[in-house]
């Protein structure tokens, strides 16, 4: 049984998960100082989609995603395939970008396969222990993540200059809309993974708002500290600003500790996407298929994608589109189906 709190924390982590390495740098590159407005408007739009996911949770009640897909017969098979591809893509992305982050700042000489090996083993272990372990882990990491986030926000506030974010509304409309699209897709997309739970007493919109609030605050700090131009050229602006933190003039270089909150986001997101894949695989040979897929993704991440920057750039620009297409194809039919079943 997954508690309401654990569900809440998982949703919080998923909202933030695609912003390290993708969200912040992509959106500042497009919308410059209007990124804060983009985040605000994107949150409001995203709330509608999150509400849809939350309603599906309520309508399907104690049924699992598997049960719903089985009820949908042929359409269910297609949706299962789409979800499976989606899960694989998210898991591949998470592993690749985690490797990229760690190899850029923390372990610059360590081979990629070695960076993600402990992680993939841990994720396999968590997935083997069941859905509850994934959510319990999320519940345990949540207080630490929130504490680290609040710490970094408080320490950085002193370095920010409000006037740097002005003037607002200077981005051209197409770019502004494009940035909103990216924000909405990246913040809402991972929440699709929450459909695998069988809880109907969830409050995903509230945790989405909390996650978005931390993102908006962080975005403000990025623009207000390094300015829109410099923020748009950095690969990880959210990490770069952490280097500024200096406590009482003698505690420095705490960026790696504070950045742990991003690592937690990624870890929960990885575990959730790995379990999502497991949930959708046929019952027969489930364990072995899941193991093979995870190992396959691990090899793909360090041998192919991690070693070829053009693939990383491709994911960077097109992940939002993939999320959008998956959302459009899967969520409306499932919503209609669960709504009808609920009435019946």
């Amino acid at each position: 049984m997954i508690s309401k709190y654990e569900h809440f924390t998982a949703s919080y982590f998923l909202t933030r998960s695609l912003f390290l390495g993708i969200g912040f740098s992509l959106i500042t590159g497009i919308a410059k100082q209007d990124s804060i407005l983009v985040f605000l408007i994107g949150t409001l739009i995203g709330l509608f989609f999150i509400f849809l996911i939350n309603q599906i949770q309520k309508y399907k009640g104690k049924k699992s995603l598997n049960d719903v897909l089985k009820e949908m017969k042929f359409l269910g098979i297609i949706l299962r395939i789409v979800f499976l591809i989606f899960g694989i893509c998210l898991f591949t992305e998470s592993l690749t970008f985690f490797q990229l982050f760690v190899s850029s700042f923390l372990l610059t000489k360590t081979p990629l396969f070695f960076i993600s090996l402990p992680l993939i083993l841990l994720i396999l272990k968590v997935c083997k222990s069941g859905k509850q372990s994934v959510f319990r882990l999320s519940g345990c990491l949540f207080p630490i993540s929130v504490l680290l986030t609040i710490t970094s926000l408080c320490f950085l506030l002193g370095y920010s200059k409000f006037e740097t974010i002005l003037p607002l509304m200077v981005t051209k409309t197409p770019s502004f809309l494009k940035a909103i699209f990216h924000y909405t897709a990246l913040s809402v997309g991972p929440s699709i993974l929450l459909l695998m739970t069988e809880e109907n007493n969830t409050n995903t919109p509230l945790s989405y708002l909390l996650g978005s609030f931390t993102l908006i605050f962080k975005m403000y700090l990025i623009i207000a500290i390094v300015g829109p131009m410099l923020a748009s050229i950095f690969r990880f602006p959210e990490y770069i600003i952490l280097k500024e933190i200096k406590l009482l003039d003698f505690i420095e270089k705490v960026e790696n500790i504070v950045a742990l909150s991003w690592v937690f986001d990624y870890f929960i997101y990885m575990a959730m996407s790995a379990y999502f894949i497991k949930e959708l695989l046929p019952k027969k040979g489930n364990e072995i298929w899941h193991f093979l897929i995870c190992i396959g993704i691990y090899i793909l991440a360090f041998m192919v994608i991690g070693k070829n920057y053009s693939y990383i750039i491709f994911i960077y620009y097109y992940l939002s589109l993939l999320i959008f297409l998956t959302f459009v194809v899967t969520i409306p039919p499932i919503f209609i189906h669960t709504f009808k079943k609920r009435k019946a």
Binding site: S104, T108, T110, E163, V226, K243
Partner: protein, 360 residues
């Protein structure tokens, strides 16, 4: 089998950071870098902290220098690292000293190189070696300043008086001012006077190119208008008596602002002052005397501001960020050199030390 797997996982967790593990005494901790440009070559010198074993009782210099040369900056740094039997480590970098040729024509290459490095923390200072080779500044360590990187950092961050003429902005802020289209950067300069390192006047930039050195007075005024000066120092002639003077210092950060009306920019400044030295015949028990002095001081500061703005216009260096302020207010671009300027100074002398006046 299960135990072996658990052990394997444990080992992986504990050792996955070992690939990047380096002993402290195997690191060449770089505290400062000097970069010169000569005959189409970059000449780089690295100031490296000399690690000392606690059992080693011999007198050693605190730093040593490694030099290299190359057609581009990365080649020069690579060449200098060939002299090292240690791994170059830039996380503790405190200062980058560039010569005037680099400042005028090759800063872009340096900025790109330093921004890309994984380990560099962008909180060091960039300074221009005034009338010297950058390497000469780096090699000018003495008993007072055994580590040049630390000495430069201290000179810039010193909060009493010196802050008047130093550009107290780290590398990150410098790059922001360079790449933002409506701002221009300024950095401190370092010179050698009588064999000692000394903070020089501010060097102003137009984009990536250094344009001009301000005078000491202009540097002070620039910091005053930008609101970074903590204890600005003024020496003014006595009203109606040019042979004597009065010295004053501001004791709070000045409040400055820019207002626009049509094609006119009004630079305003509000200062709180204290008297530090008096040689004028002024009765400080009379409140009118303060007002008279304030009026006189306001006029003097207005003159300094006017002079500074003229120099900035001449060099097309918007270090006061006037274009940016205009853009923030009206969302329109303007050429700051084509604006008319008005100056508004409001100084308030409200401290005169522990005495009113010396009876003569």
């Amino acid at each position: 089998m299960k135990k072996i797997i658990i052990l394997l996982i444990g080992v992986l967790f504990l050792t996955s950071g070992c690939y990047d593990y380096t002993e402290l005494n195997e690191l060449a901790i770089i505290s400062a870098i000097s970069i010169d440009y000569k005959e189409e070559n970059y000449e780089v010198a690295l100031e490296i902290l000399n690690s000392k074993n606690k059992n080693d009782t011999t007198e050693k210099k605190k730093v040593y220098i490694a030099k290299g040369k190359g057609k581009n900056i990365s080649e020069a740094v690579y060449s200098s690292s060939l002299e090292l039997a240690k791994t170059p480590y830039l996380a503790h970098l405190k200062a980058v000293i560039i010569d005037e040729e680099i400042a005028c024509n090759h800063l872009k290459e340096i900025v790109d190189y330093l921004l890309r490095d994984n380990y560099i923390r962008n909180i060091f200072y960039v300074v221009v070696a005034k009338d010297e080779k950058a390497v000469d500044i780096l090699e000018n360590s003495d008993t007072n300043n055994p580590i040049v990187g630390t000495a430069i950092k201290s000179l810039i961050e010193n909060t009493t008086y010196v802050n008047n003429i130093s550009a107290n902005a780290n590398y990150e802020k410098l790059v922001v001012d360079i790449i933002e289209p409506r701002k221009d950067a300024y950095v401190s300069s370092i010179e050698i006077k009588n064999g000692v390192l000394k903070l020089g006047p501010i060097a102003i930039f137009d984009g990536y190119k250094m344009k001009h050195y301000l005078t000491i007075k202009e540097s002070e005024t620039l910091n005053l208008i930008n609101g970074t000066s903590r204890e600005a120092y003024f020496k003014i002639d006595c009203p109606g008596d040019k042979d004597n003077f009065i010295a004053l210092t501001s004791y709070n950060k000045p409040k400055s602002g820019i207002d626009f009306s049509k094609d006119t920019a009004t630079l305003s400044l509000k200062l709180e002052m204290k008297i530090t030295e008096n040689h004028c015949k002024v009765n400080f028990k009379d409140k009118d005397a303060y007002q008279k002095l304030q009026k006189y001081l306001n006029k003097e500061i207005q003159k300094d501001m006017k002079n500074l703005v003229e120099v900035l216009i001449q060099n097309k260096s918007d270090t006061l960020k006037i274009e940016n302020s205009y853009y923030q207010k009206y969302k329109k671009d303007i050429d700051f050199t084509k604006l008319h300027y008005k100056y508004k100074v409001d100084s308030l002398i409200n401290r005169n030390g522990l005495i009113f006046e010396v009876k003569k």
